[in-house]
Symmetry: C2
DNA sequence: CCCTTTCTGTATCGATGACTACATAAAAGA
DNA sequence: TCTTTTATGTAGTCATCGATACAGAAAGGG
């Protein structure tokens, strides 16, 4: 069964996890090979043999992040019964993760490569694409909410989805700046007051007309 | 009048502005001395003689940013007549700046140093402190709104201030990801729906009790 | 004029960046 | 056992990082 040759002397999965933590905390450019190999407990040749290079390792680390700490967003948007519950769970579950002292704060996808050196543009583009996925997932869930009658057809799904993505991204920055879970929770409480279904007598902006039909009626 | 010695052969202010643009686009670590000197049109010794070093140059660039493109936040919070108008102007003025094609997108204070390599921790801390200033300014303006009777005393000023700071930070990420001004405006429209003073019949979260007294009545 | 002072361009410095050549070690297949 | 294959550790590669030594140029003071 063993695929020939000398067997690998380290746990690839564990090493990848350690690399993920380093990238998460220091960002792509801020994480040096010495940092990575030190945390992974291996030497550079082992890293290159097992992962291909720094950028390939980073992409795998991002993927691993998406399967673990970053999985709350798609999970919430997929499994929660209503759009409202989905968005709320997305925000609260992520906030809880952002401040978990067991690992770096905030979201790796938001914080690990915000500004691109020209040589690493592909890395930035990769994370940007993952952020676009979040926007699209939120919008798709809101669209489903409209189709199922939870949200009025007049709701501006594009804007509302971008709005909650914005809040999510901003929470990463707040967590990185040291805001604790009660602080993040209070921010989320405020952000959820924008949910359509709030009667507004004084209409300040003419943006989104809001009104909900009960979800049970359809 | 001339202070002795050979006069400087370049415009210090202009060079600083160019350095600001480079830091703004690439971040602190992503901006190399070659990038900086190239954009500033000078050689390394001139940079060191005039500014002291990379970090000192960065701090001056941040200060310059605060006096120019970053001045909308304190301006809005200081000059607008109501807390509501102040927060709205803060968001809209910044959004317009974030997508101005004349310069890099988003906010330099948010994007230039989100993740710190251990050697540059002081740089990250510096920007973090500037972001805290924003949070504090927003909160102070909300507090004033309460004092002046614009906002009910039951409004959670801490949470609401942190919330609008979160939206502001998130807008930088959105702008950096390519969202245009109409897109940012739609996000802001949605974010402003949380402003206290919205009658809510179905109370989803029990977080902040909201009710406003008309500003004119006091 | 010479001296002092400050700035400028060239040509580096040592340190560190990502990455790899090479000899050796440890396994499977013959 | 011998060969093949793959992984490992040492010790490097070259490029670039931020930062400077140094000599010459351009000003004022005497």
């Amino acid at each position: 069964m063993s695929p020939r040759g000398r067997p690998r002397a380290f746990d690839r999965e564990h090493a990848l996890t350690q690399a993920m933590f380093v990238f998460w905390e220091r960002g792509y450019e801020g994480a040096s090979l010495a940092d990575l190999t030190g945390a992974m407990g291996i030497n550079p040749p082992s890293l290159y043999a097992a992962f291909g290079g720094k950028e390939a390792l980073f992409r795998e680390a991002v993927e691993r992040y998406g399967e673990t700490y970053g999985s709350y967003t798609p999970r919430a948007l997929r499994e929660e019964p209503t759009a409202r519950a989905a968005v709320e769970a997305m925000l609260r579950d992520n906030a809880r993760t952002y401040v978990d002292p067991e690992h770096p704060t905030g979201c790796m996808v938001v914080l690990a490569a915000t500004n691109c050196s020209p040589s690493n543009r592909s890395v930035c583009a990769h994370l940007k694409a993952r952020r676009e996925e979040v926007r699209d997932l939120v919008r798709a869930r809101l669209r489903r909410g409209v189709e199922e009658g939870e949200l009025a057809e007049t709701v501006d799904v594009e804007a509302l989805g971008a709005y909650y993505a914005t809040v999510l991204f901003g929470l990463s920055m707040q967590a990185r700046d040291g805001v604790d879970l009660p602080g993040l929770t209070a921010i989320i409480d405020a952000a959820l007051l924008c949910w359509p279904g709030t009667d507004r007598e004084d209409a300040a902006g003419a943006a989104s007309e809001v009104d909900t039909a009960p979800a049970a009626s359809s």
